[in-house]
């Protein structure tokens, strides 16, 4: 690897510009107890941070492991340098998604369409059987849903990939 030719030294600014990342001294605390570090390939937060520091765009762009994170945030609790690794992971995902539409999670389309990742409110009978009243969900409130969608339209991910949300 040749950082002169392969690295974008300002990558960290593009991805996670809070400056927290720079404090990392590669102590490995984040990875030694991470659930997703048991995965294959393992999620190695420490290495992600390192790639960002070097500015290894390509390697990072290809890297799927950020999406394996279980969001338990234990790394954040344990990190002695307050790098906030979980937030870093979210930022890497954002960077990937904003540069690669295939990374855009389908769930956001669901949310856009009906407000939820699940078909909330469709299980009427079950709910009745349990003695539950219908929920005041947005899906049943076209006016509010429209407003919600309009709002999202103004956000980068939706604006940039509007074709996904059409209809």
């Amino acid at each position: 690897m040749n950082p002169q030719t392969e690295a974008n030294k300002d990558l960290w600014k593009a991805i996670y510009n809070t400056g927290d990342l720079q404090h990392c001294f590669n102590c490995s605390t984040c990875i030694s107890g991470c659930p997703a570090s048991f995965g294959d390939p393992p999620l190695l937060v420490r290495n992600l941070a390192r790639k960002v520091m070097y500015g290894l765009e390509e390697a990072l762009f290809e890297d799927d492991t950020p999406w394996a994170c279980v969001s338990c945030s234990r790394c954040e609790e344990m990190c002695p340098m307050d790098v906030k690794p979980f937030e870093m992971i979210l930022h890497i995902r954002q960077w990937q998604a904003s540069n690669d539409e295939t990374r855009v999670p389908p769930s956001i389309v669901e949310i856009y369409k009906r407000g939820y990742t699940q078909a909330v409110g469709t299980n009427v009978e079950t709910r009745q059987a349990l003695g539950l009243d219908p929920l005041p969900i947005i899906t049943n409130n076209p006016e509010q849903l429209a407003m919600f969608r309009e709002m999202l339209m103004k956000t980068p991910v939706v604006a940039a990939n509007d074709y996904m949300f059409g209809g």
């Binding site: 294959d40 338990c72 234990r74 409110g121 980068p156 991910v157």
Partner: protein
């Protein structure tokens, strides 16, 4: 005590009996709940938080604004919802810039957000506000004689500054004390604080390893405890810890992993004498033993 109930996606859609349990027992405990009308997904970490900050915070803002409109704190059961809303609120409150941007986006919808409503997890309210002592008083049916283990939702522990409410985030006691308040014996075990592994992409991206990871936890429970049940306080933990057991059994070809998993609110509701058919109706790992125990206790009582 009054809250704005935020149920998220999974609970009302997949496990409405948990919703029922919450409503029932909160009512019994004199907590007034109003629904967050027109709420949307929290948003889950895998959705907008993974694409861009605007959509993430706008969505959080949308939900928060509902509670703020009602001048109530938000009550949440789902761990991810709790953590996502807390983090969203954190960003909105601590960065003027972000707060402005969010309100800009909300403005056309006639909403505003300032962070005035706090985000509270149901187990926090039970533990800190209502307290195990009062729960113990209210309980009609005791689980005395049953052994249980507890599963702390990571999202209510880490990072402690943002989401924590335990006196000691590294040595949490809430769940244990809450279950003990129901009369059950809580067995500790070496992997008590190990994440269930259900959230995020771990399970999707590498199921083999995710299941192996969960297996270590269940094996520890089997070896180290006399657990008749597992009490969780997060919808993801609930669903995942049931599913994994079934998968594991298929693997080993015998019914070795069959510890019933309850959301704490379900146990609570049952002990408050609520109708099992309503508050503990759905499960993928049989709860009969525990239900039977409670039924017998009911008769005795």
């Amino acid at each position: 005590m009054e809250f704005c109930l935020f149920l998220g996606c999974n609970t009302p859609a997949v496990r409405p009996d948990v919703e029922k349990a919450i409503r029932a027992s909160m009512d019994e405990l004199g907590v007034d709940l109003v629904d967050a009308d027109n709420y949307v997904c929290c948003p889950a970490f895998g959705s907008f938080p993974s694409t861009d900050e605007d959509s993430w915070l706008a969505t959080s803002g949308w939900n928060l604004s509902i509670a703020e409109g009602k001048k109530r704190d938000i009550l949440v059961q789902c761990g991810s919802c709790y953590s996502s809303l807390r983090m969203g609120r954190e960003h909105i409150m601590h960065s003027d810039e972000k707060r402005q941007r969010v309100n800009e986006l909300l403005e056309p919808t006639g909403r505003t957000v300032c962070g005035s409503s706090r985000v509270r997890h149901v187990s926090e309210v039970l533990y800190k506000e209502i307290t195990p002592a009062r729960i113990a008083e209210k309980v009609k049916i005791s689980l005395e004689g049953l052994h249980g283990v507890v599963q702390y939702p990571c999202h209510t522990l880490y990072p402690s500054e943002v989401v924590g409410f335990e006196d000691s985030p590294r040595e949490p006691k809430g769940m244990r004390q809450l279950v003990e308040a129901l009369g059950a014996t809580v067995d500790g075990y070496s992997r008590e604080l190990q994440c269930c592994g259900g959230a995020g992409g771990f399970m999707k991206s590498t199921p083999e390893q995710a299941i192996e990871f969960a297996k270590t936890k269940f094996d520890a429970i089997l070896e180290e405890t006399k657990a008749d049940f597992i009490a969780v306080s997060c919808i993801t933990c609930l669903m995942h810890m049931e599913n994994v057991q079934n998968t594991l059994n298929k693997r080993v070809g015998e019914e070795r992993y069959k510890i019933p998993v309850f959301d704490y609110n379900q146990l609570l509701a049952l002990c408050l004498g609520k109708e099992q058919k309503q508050v503990s109706a759905i499960c993928n790992v049989s709860r009969d033993k525990v239900h039977q125990f409670i039924a017998n206790a009911k008769v005795a009582a």
